[in-house]
Amino acid sequence: MIRADAVSVVKGRSTLLDSASMVLCTGERLAVLGANGAGKSTLLSCLCGENTDYDGQVWLGADSLKELLPEQRAQRIAVMPQQVELVFPFRVWQVVAMGRSPWGDEQQTLEWQQEVMKATEVHHLQHRLYPQLSGGEKQRVQLARVLLQLWHYQYQSNGQQAYILLDECTSALDPAHQHEVMDLVSSMVGPAIGALAVMHDVALAASWADRVMLLRDGRVMAAGEASLLCDAEVLSACYDMSSALSRQYARVNQQWLESR
């Protein structure tokens, strides 16, 4: 599991994350929600080793995350950032193949690369130049790269556990693709893999997550089963929204949960 123990991040005078604790186990889908600036991405950057300037501890299994070698960490944690800018002319297949960098087996996993590109529906784009793609296509290519990092991991994990961390990975996608992508992530979650997704779309979270965590002002405001999203009071406290609006959202979330 990934465990954060009282992680705090202070930048200048502002506290971005205030002693946040959480646990993510394999086989589990955790959605992290919260208003803009609530500390969701900051939390994610501590969990993935990108930010090492925090108080508290992050554990990956029995190891302290800070003490793992970069490539060991990358073999067990795949991260999809909010935004990837690439202006240099790379082909789509080249971008996807970089997902194998932590393993150094780009040449041996050509079949997997084809599989993952089919799964994210970018297979037909593989010879296109990445900078010329649309926003949604770019996001699906990046997702293919990230998933390739842990593709078929369950068959070769040797008892190790791995995690997929997604930071608003559906922001540029149409509704159909949003659900397809989240289903794809679900299909990878299993005994060896767990997934965490930072999300803005509450309904999408209700349709996907097993557990949810709500952040507010850098603190964990509430955490628990996905049914938490059907509680209008929790939603209105988390997002500062009117009670009429939060009731409306709670109702929709209830429908999503029932339809699963």
Partner: protein, 370 residues
């Protein structure tokens, strides 16, 4: 100007066609490009040895090369011209060109921008300033440095000058892990002006011989290339060039941003430090022997990316060869264009590279508005 732009569009259409066929073949296509460049390089190298104020027949060049390899004593005047004048100069052009082009690839990769040429962002002029300072002040202010480093005083000083500028530029041009291109280029302008002014001040402290040495720095020339320079530069440029190959996968990942490179398991800060040091060393060593030669690091990587894409696994070796080829061609032109006068190759490169830089800027503009 419009016509030039249209021409460049048409040219890039042609190149695009080639590129499609090269990319379709993947690694084989890249190997084909490398092989083709190697053949052209050998031909230009041999041809360059034959031309000059005294033309030497290909047969004689060939036998001179054989004698040079076996260290046979010099036989004739032509033998001497080939072995002591043209051969070291040609080798020097190739080594310096390769170093500059690969340094360009590296800085562009680390700064994530195809315009980040070591010359434009001021690395070369920082290196030149340090070298000039050593020439002028070797008996006064910097005598300690000279006695400490001996024959490596010039290249090492140039390396440190280049490295210093790289660090300053990096601080100025990067905010929160994102490179700000405008800032980068403007800081380059400022540093070029500053280094130019400081060099100007030093000219007033210089004597006649030093002054002559310095003029050649500011223009860039390979005319004084001798065998000992070739030997020194083979090490000072060859070693970082080969070592940079170890970082070609990090460079690929860095093009998607430092975050992504971290996520992919690279030790980004460490890699960046090494890569920038390699680039500064290659530029500094080149500047120490040949002065400021601009645009090699801009033109070569740009053309190669158009032909073979950005994958550094192919790009770095190709840039080494392309840089060698370009500077060899430019120097052959410099030697023969107004012969017997010997133009500084830096001037020739600026005449060739300046327009390419402008075209590049216009294309970038076009790309944004489209």
């Amino acid at each position: 100007m419009m016509r030039a732009l249209l021409f460049s569009r048409r040219l890039s259409d042609v190149v695009y066609g080639w590129r499609e066929s090269i990319v379709a073949q993947g690694a084989t296509g890249q190997r084909l490009v490398l092989l083709l460049m190697a053949v052209v390089l050998v031909l230009v190298f041999l041809l360059g040895l034959t031309i000059g104020p005294v033309s030497v027949a290909v047969n004689d060049v060939w036998s001179s090369l054989q004698r040079a390899i076996t260290f046979a004593p010099i036989g004739s005047a032509n033998d001497w011209v080939v072995r002591e004048l043209r051969l070291p100069r040609a080798l020097l052009a190739m080594i310096v060109g390769a170093g500059l082009a690969v340094a360009g690839v590296i800085t562009q990769g680390v700064f994530r921008n195809p315009l980040a040429d070591p010359g434009l962002i001021g690395v070369s002029s920082g290196a030149a300033l340090a070298a000039v300072a050593v020439i002028v002040l070797n008996e006064t202010l910097l005598s300690g440095w000279v006695s400490l480093t001996g024959p490596l005083a010039l290249p090492l000083a140039a390396f440190m000058g280049g490295l210093g500028v790289t660090l300053v530029i990096y601080r100025l041009g990067t905010r929160g892990g994102q490179t700000q291109v405008g800032m980068l280029l403007l800081a380059g302008v400022a540093i070029n002006v500053l280094a130019g002014a400081a060099t100007g001040v030093l000219t007033y402290a210089a004597d006649d011989q030093q002054l002559r040495d310095m003029t050649f720095w500011s223009m860039g020339s390979l005319a004084s290339g001798r065998w000992q320079d070739v030997a020194a530069l083979t090490g000072l440029i060859g070693v970082p060039l080969l070592l940079s190959l170890r970082y070609r996968r990090v460079l690929n990942a860095l093009l998607m941003g430092e975050q992504v490179a971290i996520h992919l398991g690279f030790d980004v800060q460490r890699s960046k430090r090494w890569l920038l040091a390699f680039a500064a060393l290659m530029v500094g060593a080149g500047v120490a022997v040949a002065g400021i030669i601009g645009f090699v690091g801009l033109v070569v990587p740009h053309l190669l990316r158009m032909v073979m894409g950005s994958d550094h696994r192919g790009l770095i070796p190709a840039a080494a060869m392309g840089g060698a080829l370009l500077l060899l061609l430019a120097d052959s032109l410099a030697r023969t264009w107004m012969a017997p006068a010997d133009l500084p190759v830096g001037l020739v490169m600026a005449l060739l590279g300046g327009p390419v830089f402008l075209l590049l800027l216009m294309q970038q503009n076009g790309g944004q508005s489209r």
